[in-house]
Amino acid sequence: MSVAEREQHPRGRGFGRRPRRRHRVYSPRPLPSGPFAEPPALGFVAATWLVAKRDMIATLRSKGFIISAVTMLVAVLVAFVVVAATNGSFSALGRIGGDIEDDVEATPVAVVAGAGVMGEGIEGIALIEVSSEDEAEALVRSGEVEAAVLAPADPGRSVRVMGDDDVPTDLVDALTVTPEVTLLNPPRLEEMARYWLSLVFGVLYLMMGATFGQMIAQNTVIEKQTRIVEILLAVVPARAMLAGKILGGSILAVGETVLLVAASYAGMVANHMTALLGLLTVPMWWYVAFFLVGFVMYAAMFTAAGAMVTRTEDLASASTPILLLVMAPYILVLALNGSPTAMAVMSFVPFTSPVAMPVRLVMGDAGVWQAVAALALLAAMTVLLVIASAKIYMNSVLQMGSRVRLGQALRGGTHT
């Protein structure tokens, strides 16, 4: 037993025994003696990574984060179970995922020879030819086939269908003759799809941006409130602190987004939504790319907001404007997704493009070059806002007391 292990449980006996915490026991090292050594150098990148790692570990250990992350994952999975269960009637997703049963085993149906129908196969239905009505009935009764198609009772009338205990809907649908219909004002079939996509992308963006953005701002205020920031800034440059906070928060936010997207992907694969998959796969990863850049922008702004106040109670008022920016794509895209012009504009505006552009990509309204251009615009905006946030952070994070005003934080000049 090492010294550290022995010292670790001094109150291991008697009452007041505490549950053992799981932690790594450090093995002690003697302090240096003799002359002081040259200081070891820690580069900017290494410092940034250390800060990011600490923030991530602290977040991953917090109960609130674990609960919200698990809830969101479960919500996505539940959504797919619901979609699967209600597929036929689920309007929009059902429609664009119309051939949902593509790969499902075809329904076996017996056909009496000479029934005179269906020389060609029907999608989703496997025909088994039988010689008599009796043979067909036996197969239906035994459950070997779902239903049987019998010859018309009188020539000139339609074929008859025999089922076991319920109406074989698939077959009846397949046999029904649909008249050609011409609509003078055809409804846009994708309208619902557009709505649902905007909703899903918008909500995901809002939740991720708000949750992780607030978390970053919170961490920043706590550092300021507990004054550890003074010790930290005596050790690492403020730029490394800010970069580490942005990096740590972004890795977590993007990581969870990727996880959710992957869960959705798995859900679609499991539900055989091949058509939907074909439509969504590429735009989903575009969404992740937009989110990655967009979140860095928000992370920088949230860090700056956190640095401007000294108490967590004051954080809400400082971060409200940024929260509104996070909500903007959700509200605007959801409200205006019917207007192609508005969508086109929003898909290039840096604050709304992370939601609007992926929706347009899904609907085939925008090409790759447009997505690249919008992403470049977003990246440029992100660079500008990161520079401004760095300025605010460095000018405010050591100013204790009342909230630092924005103009003052941007002009600054109190810190070296």
Binding site: V25, Y26, P39, P40, E223, A234, V236
Partner: protein
């Protein structure tokens, strides 16, 4: 040697520091004393480069202290701060790693420092579960983990029990003995008196006195003598050799030159047996009172004990 040279800093219209100049020699403990709001914390923050001076300079061994150079210093700010939910050992090690130590070294030193500060049994508890005194020790460990050769400590002894004071003193003394420059502020003048070799006294943003403790005491106190006999001693008040006479329950103390003190002793012996006679070792509180003016001291520090 760390030197602060003519440093001035204003916050708005308030002059927090006004031409502050002093030196912190290596291999010694330097005490930084002054009333609340005198400018100690501002000076320390400027030395650490977390605050910029308006004019003046801070140098270490002749070279200007850049923010990069100051990163090497060990710093304990006035406002204590550690992550409340992180374990003590973990964050001391984290700070060590930010200073460029590899993980094993940082963790090993963290646990060793906590052991030397009698905090090993709480090392893996989150900081928020520690008492204030224990948080204070954790804070000291955080300032020392990277083996700094310059220590800037704002009130390192406040809130510590006498045993903790001893272990912190031993630890800091070890750093000084190896050649570190140690600057610490404190309001506990008797403690400062006991452990410092050099003193800096600040008031209203100006350095009123600085130098070796012995020199300061010699310069700012007058020789005093204590006399105790069985009988009444109020007659000393009337002697012209003695001035500033204080009559206490045990006897008297007075200021006089050596010859005058000898005459008074002879008079006392003539009147009866003398139980005690000797020079009063001046206390730092007196120096402080002389330099700063008694009004800025709390009453307990103003007592002049024979």
């Amino acid at each position: 040697m760390l030197t602060v040279n003519g440093v001035t800093r204003a916050f708005g219209t308030i002059r927090a520091l006004d031409g502050v100049t002093f030196a912190v020699p290596r291999g010694q403990m330097t005490g930084f004393v002054g009333a609340n709001g005198a400018g100690k914390t501002t000076a320390m923050r400027i030395i650490m480069r977390v605050l910029a001076e308006d004019s003046g300079a801070v140098t270490l061994d002749g070279a200007p202290v850049t923010p990069t150079a100051a990163r090497r210093f060990g710093y304990m700010p006035e406002e204590r701060g550690l992550y409340p939910k992180m374990s003590t050992a973990e964050q001391v090690a984290y700070l060590g790693m930010l200073h460029g130590l590899d993980r094993q070294t940082a963790e090993g030193r963290a646990i060793e420092l906590l052991r030397l500060l009698d905090l090993a049994d709480r090392a893996y508890d989150p900081v928020e579960k520690l008492s204030l005194g224990n948080q204070q020790r954790a804070q000291i460990a955080a300032a020392l983990v990277h083996d700094p050769d310059v220590l800037i400590l704002d009130e390192p002894f406040s809130g510590l029990d006498p045993m903790a004071v001893e272990s912190v003193m031993r630890l800091l003394g070890g750093f000084a003995a190896r050649g570190a420059a140690v600057l610490f502020s404190s309001h506990q003048l008797d403690l400062v008196e006991r452990i410092t070799d050099t003193l800096v006294i600040i008031a209203g943003g100006r350095i009123l006195a600085s130098g070796s403790r012995a020199d300061l005491i010699a310069a700012h106190t007058r020789p005093r003598f204590a006399l105790e006999t069985g009988g009444d001693l109020t007659w000393v008040t009337d002697r012209e050799e003695a001035s500033d006479v204080i009559v206490g329950p045990q006897g008297v103390t007075f200021h006089a030159d050596d010859a005058g003190a000898g005459r008074i002793l002879r008079l006392a012996v003539d009147r009866g047996p003398v139980t005690r006679f000797g020079p009063v070792v001046p206390r730092l509180a007196e120096v402080f009172r002389d330099v700063v003016g008694g009004d800025s001291l709390p009453p307990s520090e103003r007592d002049v004990r024979p």
